[in-house]
């Protein structure tokens, strides 16, 4: 493992490097920067909703812009680049190759992200991360909307380039002694998610171009005034972005597959069922996109088909949970910070999945659709599962990247505050949705239940905010002043990595 920060180098050497760990470091720092930016917007939203009436944000337009950029930032500029950071560091090492397959392409894929981040942030569009037409065509103010479209376009190309690189690295550059059935599960997760990207992203890329020409007034694909159909945009969008949910979640699950056996001091319970569940998820993920659209006036048959497709993804997710629990069963677990994040993430993954089953059931969806239930539901995935897995993995890779240990106590405080905060915010939002509060509203009528729930959620968000300050201090301080890590075994769990090609699980 390469120790990045122990040998000080001028920053331009890292910026213009094409080495996989340098590109990984760039991805890492940029994604964490956007995590804090996007998180700050979330705190502004929660502060605004603490009470009915305008609080800290003066007007609805600013509020609408804030939640749009919040969602876009955290999905496209934090979660995806963070996964790329982990993939860049670990995939070449896991397949025992000297670098990514195409190092220059790798650096290009990274350097496409800062300009698109700048477009999104300087534009500050207001049409939600879903850019729903005809609002986005006839009503959304430019140039913010156009800048958002171009930003997403560039991000899409970057994702595709990154995905090609991962697929080729894993399939073509792995060590000749290593069969594909011996590649560690983290690398398998990147293989699965990269293949999903390659199949899913082109659809949205087309939809974005059509949206742009519609905005320019030269076409009317999604504009009913010109004979177009806004529902066709919804299909194109969700055909990309429902599978994209799995693009986000699969690498996070892969990171848990790395952490959990390590800190359970045991090989993974079933390597094959992990691969099977990854592959199954990445196929079944394509059969459920229109469950986002039950209320658009779909026929009973269409709804039934997509409900079945959605429910079909549950057993594969459940297999991962089983695998994690079976690995931890009867093992000597060391509850270091990464392990706590991983276990917390699994618990919240389970909760998010259970809520998702309720959404998928057709009649129940009409209660929850576009309410705060949905906000709570998908945040349990993106925050509770994906960010928890990612942050756990960040603590796990920290000694390898910096050569120093983070402060364990602060790491645990960060976890506990975040875990409590996440439960307070997002479980409460489920209930708030059942009381009928719609998403994406700047202000709400003074209904006592709504006020109470919003206040609990806002307090939870502030707790997460505090935990993130602890996190930031810990990361920065420990990088310079932390105690030097033992690169052989930084967490003192003993033994060695139980990669499947090295050892069979003795327990079964």
């Amino acid at each position: 493992m390469v120790l990045e920060l122990q040998k000080p180098r001028p920053i331009w050497q890292i910026m213009f490097s094409t080495h996989h760990t340098d590109v990984g470091l760039l991805y890492l720092i940029m994604s964490l920067g956007f995590l804090f930016l996007g998180g700050a917007l979330a705190l502004a939203i929660r502060a605004e909703l603490f009470l009915p009436g305008a609080q800290i944000i003066g007007d609805a337009m600013t509020f609408n812009r804030i939640f749009t950029v919040h969602g876009t930032t955290l999905i496209f500029l934090f979660i995806i680049p963070f996964a790329s950071a982990v993939g860049n560091y670990f995939v070449p090492i896991m397949v025992r190759y000297k670098d990514m397959a195409y190092p220059k392409l790798n650096a290009i894929a990274f350097w496409m992200i800062p300009p698109s981040g700048a477009l999104i942030w300087l534009g500050f569009a207001d049409f939600t991360w879903y850019a729903t037409p005809p609002y986005s065509i006839i009503s959304a103010p430019g140039p913010a909307a156009d800048m958002w479209i171009f930003g997403l376009k560039i991000l899409g190309v970057s994702s595709v380039l990154g995905a090609i690189n991962f697929v080729v690295t894993i399939l073509k550059c792995k060590h000749p002694d290593m069969s594909i059935g011996q590649v560690p599960l983290l690398a398998w997760s990147f293989l699965s998610s990269s293949l999903i990207i390659l199949v899913a992203i082109p659809t949205f890329a087309a939809a974005l171009l059509m949206l742009l020409t519609d905005r320019l007034g030269v076409t009317g694909f999604f504009n009913p005034a010109m004979g177009g159909d806004p529902i066709s945009y919804a299909h194109l969008f969700w055909f990309t972005f429902h599978p994209e949910v799995y693009v986000l979640v699969i690498p996070a699950i892969g990171m848990m597959y790395e952490i959990i056996p390590r800190f359970s001091r045991k090989p993974i319970y079933s390597y094959n069922s992990g691969i099977f569940a990854f592959v199954l998820l990445s196929i079944v993920g394509f059969s459920s996109w229109a469950h986002h659209m039950y209320a658009t006036g779909m026929s009973f048959t269409e709804k039934t088909v997509f409900m079945v497709g959605t429910l079909a993804a549950v057993p594969a997710s459940a297999m991962h949970v089983y695998n994690f629990i079976a690995t931890m069963w009867n093992s000597r677990i060391k509850f270091s910070t990464p392990m706590m994040w991983a276990i917390g993430g699994i618990a919240l993954f389970f909760s998010a999945g259970a809520g998702g089953v309720a959404n998928a059931a057709m009649p129940l969806d009409f209660t929850t659709h576009d309410t705060y239930w949905v906000v709570g539901h998908f945040h349990l995935f993106v925050m509770g599962t994906i960010a928890f897995g990612s942050i756990g993995y960040l603590y796990y890779m920290y000694p390898y990247v910096t050569g120093r240990m983070y402060n364990e106590t602060m790491g645990k405080i960060h976890f506990l505050l975040s875990f409590v905060g996440t439960i307070l915010v997002f479980f409460t939002q489920h209930v708030l949705g059942l009381y009928g509060m719609p998403r994406r509203i700047f202000d709400y009528p003074p209904i006592p239940e709504w006020i109470a729930m919003n206040q609990i959620a806002s307090i939870g968000a502030m707790i997460i905010g505090v935990s993130m300050v602890v996190f930031l201090i810990n990361m920065i301080h420990s990088a310079g002043k932390g105690k030097p890590a033992n690169p052989e075994d930084p967490f003192g769990v003993g033994g060695k990595y139980y990669y499947p090609f090295e050892s069979k699980n003795p327990s079964h």
Binding site: T132, G297, T371
Partner: protein, 143 residues
């Protein structure tokens, strides 16, 4: 998974699949019943536009922001929009259907008690989306 027994995992996956089948079957049955519009349901045309709701009864009466209906009668809403997407929602009666320009979507309900309920827009539609609200007033049958 070759070479060793994995029967607890198979049982677990079987249980999960069984639960999903049960959820799916129940949902299918419930939705089939819910979508069956009773005969003789009175039609109310609902129009969403930025940022208010307009209602037109069968007898030609028009209302803005308020909707008066009678207890015990079935109503079928024909929903459309004149500008951007909206979503017509009476949360207390689980009435939810998108209002989409160029389409007419239908949904029905039958109020069973006298009272007032909130009508709101549940699909993002721009600046005043948060206040695109109305009131449903359920009255005693007129005769």
């Amino acid at each position: 998974m070759a070479g060793h027994s994995n029967w607890p995992e198979w049982i677990y996956v079987g249980v999960v699949i069984a639960i999903m089948c049960w959820v799916g079957a129940e949902a299918w049955e419930a939705e089939r019943l819910v979508e069956h519009v009773p005969e003789g349901a009175e039609i109310i045309k609902v129009t969403g536009q930025q940022w208010f709701w307009t209602f037109e009864h069968e007898d030609g009466t028009k209302e803005i922001g308020e909707l008066h209906v009678e207890k015990g009668k079935a109503y079928k809403f024909e929903i459309h929009s004149t500008d951007v997407n909206h979503s017509f929602n009476i949360h207390d009666y689980v009435v939810l259907m998108d209002a989409i320009p160029g389409r007419v979507n239908t949904v029905w309900f039958a109020p069973d008690a006298v009272g007032e309920h909130d009508i709101q827009c549940r699909e993002y539609c721009g600046l005043i989306h948060y206040n695109m609200r109305g009131t449903l007033i359920v009255e005693e049958p007129h005769s």
